[in-house]
Point group: C2
Chain length 337, copies 2
DNA sequence: GTGAAAGCGCTAACAC
DNA sequence: GTGTTAGCGCTTTCAC
């Protein structure tokens, strides 16, 4: 019927107050050159009308929106969800709002830099700064501050990572200490720094212990249960199969357990299984599994803190922040001494 | 040095192509009145430059953004997180992107309709439609489609709810069947439809069984562990304490267990405890607890599906969608027959 | 202290 | 088919 949009605009407020839009804008942004009287009147009318400025319009015109963006491939992915907890905590009580941006069309964008697409949609307009979760591209240029969580291998951006290498070494020292000599490894998703650091730790620990690095024992993974399953089947089918398998994350570890149980093996009696874990105690209901707790929510917390610092013009004393991991042993792995 | 913002705009693309901005805009929006030749050239340049239109600008000018908004009080809240799983699944493979909007300043906004503020920031500009999670205000007017998840009591909007009443009745029938006559109840957060429906089920089941409804047995809760703890202490300190406590959600149930263990009671031997649960199996590691699984992620899935229908102009056959719940008994509650 | 006017990046008439 | 032009709602000079 009417072509009028029933959204309240700054004009509506201005007219209701009998002042100009610029005055209302000044009030909105708490500029100090507004008469107290005018200021209060405008504030009152704003409250009465329930007006809120449109994010889109504000974004276009001003540099500052007080909104932090979080870019994730897939809302609902356990890693992201755990991260949100820490991010939520970090944001609570600050003046920032939060926007999590995630795309449908995963298939279409998965390979071709979703983060770049998403970034350019938000950066420089809607958000004051951006947190990118597990980006797969190495070159991400933003005009506003950016912090990466578990970034690409060749990352040069401010970032937060887990102590992946150290965690992997702890796992290996534990297994080697129990007498294991042939330890299988299932890698993470290619391109991520977490993946290469974990593998590095695996190899370093072997070398440190004077054990051979057998390429056949290193199978590719991508942080999914299915791939973990197939890689584990591969490992278990070897002529000289490993006595322990170290999976780069919780999902792959579950895949390993699937494969083991299909092969009639019991955990941890017949096969020792260790996996990195995104969520504290998420894997505690899986009997026999040993895990490395990554404190993912802390990564989220720290990353957000870093980003806020950057947005506020401060410099980071340490652009690459490493969050400690912790080996969690519930049922001890098999000793084969 | 330069005052130029290094963001790529539609103008840059237009100049690089030697066409006007409107032509580029037409290509971007796949209008059919562009010469194939021009179309392809522009597409190629766009791909080469890695241009993506700014969400803010697009939002301001056009009705359609292909973005769905999700409004939550607090990112990181377990209910929201579980919801995200379903939403993520629903969105996957569609043409829609997702924006989750959440505010810092919770304290400031908690009482005074955060959802209205957030809504007006996004609605009518950035998003094509919005999902509001547990709104506390009854009147939410949006110019674009809106679906509420676990809405306010006096809700008239399209919404998704759990079968709260039925779930509560199932709990009560189970407990009454075991011989319980005095069953405590800890309510949910006031104002939500889930809260009143659960309480309704509690009362109905008592009446159905011909048992008295003792107001002293109904204690207020707000879905937090702390309040659950205090309310449970209250119940346990009664002259004639309940033999079973039914808590309106998982957190309150944990509070009940805290109170019970502080009172030296064992679950379920000394006290039967049942709680609604947001996350499948989240409470499975809590021994003795019986839960009602709410299928929260399914709520997210269904709500998203409904919203997409609305955005696409379809009408819903059922504006209020009720998701079944399921009583999950691990350790049987105490029988006091 | 306040208003008028320009313009952010984009889309949608309307010309040609 | 394509360019020109007028805004969307807001912030920000620059006058007064």
């Amino acid at each position: 019927m009417s072509r009028k949009k029933n959204t309240l605009t700054i004009r509506d407020v201005a007219e209701a107050c009998g002042v100009s839009v610029s005055t209302v804008s000044r009030v909105l942004n708490d500029k100090d050159d507004v008469a107290t009287e005018t200021y209060e009147k405008v504030r009152r009318v704003i409250a009465e009308m329930g007006y809120t400025s449109s994010l889109a319009a504000t974004s276009m015109r001003s540099r500052r929106t007080n909104v932090i963006g979080i870019l994730v491939v897939d809302l609902g992915d356990p890693f992201s969800l755990e991260l949100f907890k820490g991010i939520g905590t970090a944001i609570r009580g600050t003046e920032y709002d939060l926007i999590v941006y995630s795309g449908g069309r995963v298939a279409a964008t998965a390979e071709s830099g979703w983060e770049r697409r998403h970034l350019s949609r938000l950066d420089g307009s809607i958000t004051d700064g951006v947190l990118v979760v597990t980006p797969t591209t190495e070159d991400l240029t933003a005009i506003s501050p950016l912090v990466a969580v578990d970034p690409h291998e060749h990352n040069t951006l401010p970032a937060v990572i887990s102590a992946n290498r150290e965690g992997a070494i702890a796992v290996m020292e534990y297994l080697i200490g129990l007498g294991h000599r042939r330890i299988g490894f299932i890698t993470g998703r290619q391109g991520l720094v977490s993946t290469s650091h974990r593998q590095q730790g695996y190899i370093e620990a072997l070398e440190q212990a004077g054990l051979p690095v057998d390429p056949a024992l290193i199978q590719p993974g991508d942080y999914t249960r299915e791939t973990g399953f197939h890689s584990a089947q591969h490992l278990l089918a070897l002529a000289d199969p490993p006595t322990a398998i170290f999976a780069a994350n919780d999902q792959s570890a579950l895949g390993v357990i699937d494969a083991a149980s299909e092969a009639g093996l019991h955990i941890p009696e017949d096969l020792s299984v260790v996996g990195f874990d995104n969520i504290p105690q998420a894997m505690c209901s899986v009997p026999g599994l040993t895990t490395v707790d990554q404190s993912v929510s802390e990564m989220g917390y720290v990353a957000t803190t870093m980003l806020i610092k950057l947005i506020q013009g401060e410099t980071l004393d340490e652009p690459l922040c490493k969050i400690p991991t912790r080996l969690v042993i519930r049922d001890s792995c098999r000793s084969i001494k």
